[in-house]
Every structure is written in C-alpha cells, then in structure tokens.
C-alpha cells in the first residue's frame, strides 16, 4: 500500500487522539517499517490492517466503523492534495465512475506497481449505481468510507447496500448506491 495512505492515517490519529496515541499505536504494533512512511513508498498491506485493528481497540471503536471513517477522512485529504479530480467531475456518480478510468490511470503514471483495486460500474438509472469492487486486500470498508467522503464533498445523501461481500466468501464486493432526494 502507498505511503500516502499511512501518512493520512497518522494524521487522522494524531488529529483525533494526539501524537502520544499514534506513538503508542506504533509501540504496540511494532510495524516492520518502524512507522516511517513516505508518500511515494510502498509498505506491506498488513501494516495498515494491524494499525487499524489496534486503533479500534485503543479508541474502543468497531473496526468497520473506524475503517469507514478513515475512508471518508482519506477522501477529503486526497481531494486537498489533488483537487483536479473532483473539479473535473460535475456530480457524485460521474466522480465514482471516473475513479477507475481517470484517477487510477493517473496514479499509475506517478507510482510504479501501485496494485490498485479494480472497479466496474453499472448505472441502473439516474438514481442508482451498482459498483463492483475487486481487490486482494479486501478493503471494502475503506471503499465505503471513500464513497461516504465523496458523497459529503458533492453534498448528496445516499443509501448504500453491500449485498455481495468478499468477507462472506464472494470473489468480489458489490455496492448498490441509491441517491436520496
């Protein structure tokens, strides 16, 4: 996983619980990277899972809730860093649909082997979008958080269903996103 994700996780933990909490987290998890993360570097996926799991215990927040909250936080910070991607897309659905064909293409130009997830989209009608998520990391909760962050940016209310999930034995996850009036 790219270092920028770890940088933003560190930023969130420090912002919400202080530097001492982040320091404690690193002391407890003892990651191979020693907690030294550079935005352009690659770090083992397990580290983010270990850090999130331990943070969930420390802060007494369910892991799914924490990961989803992190996804939302991650989105708003990525937007600050690369505003052009949201500026190019006029609405929530068009942004979601641009993730695979626009954003990931740009990420590949910047980073070697970024091992990005694969998305497939089906626009069922003007109010509904089905999104298929495939990734060996199975970070569907993070994807949910990123979707929440995007919805917040575009100021839309929506309902999300997650009827097919890799954590329940499927080979991919499916999100059904329905816009609320």
């Amino acid at each position: 996983m790219k270092g920028i994700v770890f940088n933003i996780l560190e930023q969130m933990v420090i912002e919400k619980a202080g530097l001492a909490a982040w320091d404690q987290l690193l002391q407890d998890v003892q990651p191979a990277s020693q907690g030294i993360y550079t935005a352009g570097g690659n770090y083992p996926d397990e580290e983010v899972v270990q850090l999130a799991s331990r943070a969930s215990e420390m802060l007494d927040i369910p892991l799914n809730t924490l990961v989803t909250a992190f996804g939302s936080y991650l989105f708003s910070n990525l937007v600050k860093k690369h505003p052009v991607f949201v500026e190019q897309q006029p609405d929530f659905f068009s942004f979601l649909k641009s993730v695979h064909d626009v954003i990931h293409v740009e990420v590949r130009k910047l980073y070697e082997e970024p091992s990005l997830p694969h998305f497939r989209y089906t626009q069922l009608n003007t109010q509904q979008l089905r999104l298929e998520y495939r990734s060996p990391r199975k970070l569907c909760m993070l994807a949910e958080g990123l979707i929440a962050g995007a919805a917040e940016y575009y100021a839309v209310r929506y309902q999300l269903e997650h009827p097919v999930c890799m954590h329940k034995g499927a080979d991919h996850c499916e999100f059904l996103i329905t816009l609320e009036p």
């Binding site: 530097l19 001492a20 982040w22 320091d23 690193l26 020693q34 907690g35 030294i36 993360y37 550079t38 935005a39 352009g40 570097g41």
Partner: protein, 327 residues
C-alpha cells in the same frame, strides 16, 4: 523527579521518536526522488537515442524515395548514351581504319598531288597520329565513366527498393563464403581473413542481395586495413530469434563524428573516383528490407565492427529499440 517532570520526559521521548521518524521519512523520500530522477534521465537518454534512430530512418526513407525518382529519370537517357557510345566506338574504329589506309597511300605516294597536299594540310591541323592514338582511349574512358554512372543508378534502385526481392532458404555461412571467394582477389594483398562460422539454421533471404551486403562490408574492411597488413574477422552466431553476422577489422576505424553519416547515400571518405558512397547505404537498405538491422561500432585507430541482425522469422522485423542504428 516529580510526576510533572516524568510527564514532560515521556512527552519529550514521544516527540523525539516522531522527529526521528520524520527525519528517516525525509531521507527515504529523497532517495525515492533520486531514484526517480535517475530513472527519468535513463528513459530520456533512451528516448533521445530512439528519436535519433527514427530521424535517421526517416532521412533514409526520404532519400530512398528521391533516389527512386532520380534513378528512373537517369536510366533512360543513360541507356541511349551508352548505346550511342558503343555505335560511335564502331564508327570511330572504321574512320580510323580509313585514316590508316589514307596514311599508307600517302606514304606509298599513290595519292595524286592535290589529294596528298590536302591530306598534309589537314594532318598538320588535326595531328591524325595523335587523334588515332587518343580517340580509342577517350572512348574507353567515356564507356568506363558511363558504366560507373550505371552502377550508381543500379545501386540507387537497390537502395530505394521497398519490396523484398525473391527470397529462398539460404545458409548464411555459405553465402558469406561465396562472397569471400568473389572478393578474394581484391582483398588478398591487403589483409588476411579469419572466419568463425558455426552451423546456423537457414533463413529466407535474397541470396544475391545478402551477398552484395557481405561483399561491400568485406571490401570496406579491406580498404580500412590497406595501410597496415590487417585482419578481417567474419563471425556468425544465433542469438535468440535472430542471426548475428559480424564483420570486424583492425583497420583505421571511423571517427566518431562521421559514424552518424556512414549509412547515408553518397557519403564516402575515399578519394574522388575511389568510391561511390553507396555501398553502406545499399547494405543498410537491403538489411532493413529483410527486417534486420545493420549497426557499427568503431574505435579510431583500432578498427570497426559491423553487426547485422537478421530475424529468423522474416515476418517479425527487429524493432528499433532492440537494435538501434548506432550511433
């Protein structure tokens, strides 16, 4: 130490660890940047080389098109001039025979007085003896000059040919040995030839065109070693999906600033009249038409090595990036 001091010390330790992590992260980022910059530089170098090779190929393609037109335009009048020159040579011979006969009559005194006087008058003006001696030489020089022009035109046609000639399965080693036999008389006084030709699979090529390439390269190598009794090495080998043929000499080498021009038509370093400057460009064109590459590696004073890579499967031309035209 008070509890307050303990808290401060703990907090200081936390900040120190954070600082250490930040410092290390900055070093890692600098290393990443350095690696990326180096990679970018290398890619830029490759791109520049490819661009140079592309420009060179485009230049050769343009010259090829021009050459085709020029060759066609020159060929027809050239054929007329050559044919007329042959007829003129015959006419001149007949006139010289007549002149010789008149000279004999003059010497024998069989011409009447006024004819003899007129002949003497004309002879003093034209110097028939010199004319009789010089005219055949001039005719021969003209014929040689025109045949040279014909060779140049023929080379231009070969250079500009875009369609492959007739091809058959050929043992490249045998083709090299045949070429060597053909040029042996020309080169044997200048240098010795060492061959290393291990068995190779046959490849579909135009035998006479390839032979022309090998002869050009061998003769060039011999010329490069003219001043010192040199050595030419002819080597072949199979490398992955192509045949590699190397013609290496220990001659004078090619100055670096000339390397980029040697495959251009009419480029020659030989004295006027010694070379047409078409040999290497024709060779390059023939090899390109076979989907292969011809490159040179040369060190002034030490010698040159011309390397041909011919794809075993002629349907799969070698890409520029795999075997760029050097330099």
């Amino acid at each position: 130490m008070s509890a307050n001091d303990n808290d401060l010390a703990r907090e200081l330790a936390i900040y120190q660890r954070a600082l250490q992590r930040e410092k290390q992260a900055r070093l890692d980022a600098e290393q990443l940047l350095e690696n990326s910059t180096r990679q970018l530089y290398q890619q830029n170098q490759t791109l520049q080389q490819q661009q140079a090779a592309m420009l060179q190929n485009e230049k050769l393609a343009t010259i090829g098109m021009l050459s085709a037109g020029i060759a066609h335009e020159i060929n027809n009048p050239l054929a007329v001039v050559l044919s007329n020159l042959n007829a003129l040579t015959d006419y001149t011979e007949q006139l010289l025979t007549l002149l010789e006969q008149v000279q004999q009559w003059q010497q024998q005194g069989t011409l009447n007085a006024s004819a003899a006087e007129r002949f003497t008058q004309l002879d003093s003006q034209a110097d028939f003896a010199f004319l009789a001696e010089d005219a055949p030489d001039m005719m021969e020089d003209m014929r040689e000059g025109l045949i040279r022009v014909q060779d140049i035109v023929s080379n231009l046609k070969t250079f500009s040919r875009t369609r492959p000639g007739e091809r058959q399965q050929v043992d490249i080693n045998q083709c090299i040995q045949t070429s060597l036999r053909l040029v042996n008389n020309t080169i044997k006084d200048h240098c010795s030839v060492v061959t290393d030709l291990p068995p190779l699979p046959e490849v579909a090529v135009n035998n006479s065109e390839l032979s022309q390439v090998f002869m050009n390269l061998i003769i060039n190598a011999a010329h490069a070693t003219e001043d010192q009794h040199g050595q030419i090495q002819l080597r072949t080998r199979q490398q992955a999906d192509c045949l590699v043929i190397e013609v290496e000499d220990n001659g004078c080498g090619i100055p670096e600033n000339l390397c980029k021009d040697i495959f251009n038509p009419f480029f020659t370093t030989k004295p006027p009249g010694k070379g047409t400057g078409m040999g290497l460009s024709v060779a390059h064109s023939i090899i390109s038409n076979h989907g292969g590459t011809l490159t040179v590696n040369s060190t002034p004073g030490l010698g040159s090595c011309f390397t041909i890579c011919l794809p075993l499967d002629m349907k799969q031309p070698l890409s520029v990036t795999e075997h760029p035209i050097k330099p």
